[in-house]
């Protein structure tokens, strides 16, 4: 087993953990956190594919031994994920300010 495979499995586990959090966490802030975990798992899968595809570049003596295309996509994704998190946090803070709640569930808990 190589390091890439190991991190690929790690990314898959992170997606599972993040998804569980997005569904099960009661508070919106914890869901935003879980959403970020889920996202980083997906990015990690991209990174593993980039590393696997980079052998050719390293063989050509170009230095970096990763496929730069998925890596560039991940950088783009990280910036957009930050912007999305910032909007979500701003919405949540406003919700807490207006209603005193930290969740979108309105009614009583369903049995």
């Amino acid at each position: 087993m190589s390091g890439e495979i190991l991190f690929g499995l790690c990314g898959a586990a992170l997606v599972g953990i993040g998804l569980y959090g997005v569904i099960c966490q009661p508070g919106a802030l914890r869901r935003i956190l879980a959403f970020n975990l889920l996202g980083s798992g997906v990015f990690l899968l991209f990174g593993v594919i980039a590393k696997r595809g980079g052998g050719a570049l390293a063989a050509a003596g170009e230095g970096a031994d990763g496929d730069p295309v998925p890596q560039a996509l991940v950088i783009t994704g990280l910036v957009v994920a930050f912007a999305a998190t910032a909007i979500a946090i701003a919405l949540l803070r406003r919700l807490a300010e207006v209603s005193g709640r930290g969740t979108l569930d309105e009614g009583e808990r369903n049995p």
């Binding site: 087993m1 390091g3 569980y20 956190l33 980083s40 031994d65």
Partner: protein
Amino acid sequence: MTSALLVDGVLALLVIGLALFVTAARTAYGAVVGFVAYGLLLALVWVRLAAVDVALTEAALGTGLTGVLLLGAAARLFPTEAAEASRRPGPGLRILIGSLCAAIALGLGAVVLLLPDPAPTLAPLVAENLPPTGVGNPVTGVLMAHRAIDTLLETVVLLPALIGVWSLASEQSWHGRPGSLPRLVGNGPLTLLAQVLPPLGILVGVHLVWVGADDPGGKFQGAAVLAAMGVLVLVAGLREPPRVTSRSLRLLLVLGPLVFMGIGVAGIPLAGALLAYPEGYAKSLILVIEAALTLSVALVLGLLLGGPPETGDREPGLRS
């Protein structure tokens, strides 16, 4: 080889352990602290995956700035937390959801194990087409030349995000200043840090942008460091955040995307395609775009942390 694998294994286990901690932590504040540690370890994973550009972005943006954002929200939302605990789904439902999520993770894991060999790659194509752009860092080459349209859209999409945050202002705060960051005026050590660190931080940020053409680094990493310095100065209370109605501020925010678009459109008559660079000028044009974008992106990132404008005006003359 085996020792490298050992390090990778320990790193992967630590990352998964911290992800579980973030999910299971009792308080949101604890979960955010766990998330910051998680992000820093993830940056190490990116180094192990030979993606130093991504590692820098993850550490500066995905962990540093996101951490500030989340810590502020966790502190503010603390009073609402107690009411949430009772809203968790019951144990039966949690086990069901957990097993379905585990099935998805197992499916993805199987995909990882069954990836085609040899791996499909665009790396040779990038290496072949890198010399005409004049930059030596393949990731920068992809971001600024081969997939420039993605980068353009990404820098433009930051502006609607900022507009979205600003539009959450209450009605009487339209002319205010961003108010989500705490202001700890008169905190001696913090004030000293905010005076000593920014000159060095600005140097590091500019350096990251400058070397980004040939070595790991680039505008997003540099901009994140610059934004962090700005936030430090604001939190220490040494400067007021700018008014969101300030015309010069708004001009600086759109400067980067405008320069990028201008050069991109000029590429149609000069180089035959949108976002194409005329031969021989690619490197210098890329540097111009990167410089303008760094300024705009740093401002947007800092202002996203600043949150919507609030009254609390210190200049009573402008209050309507």
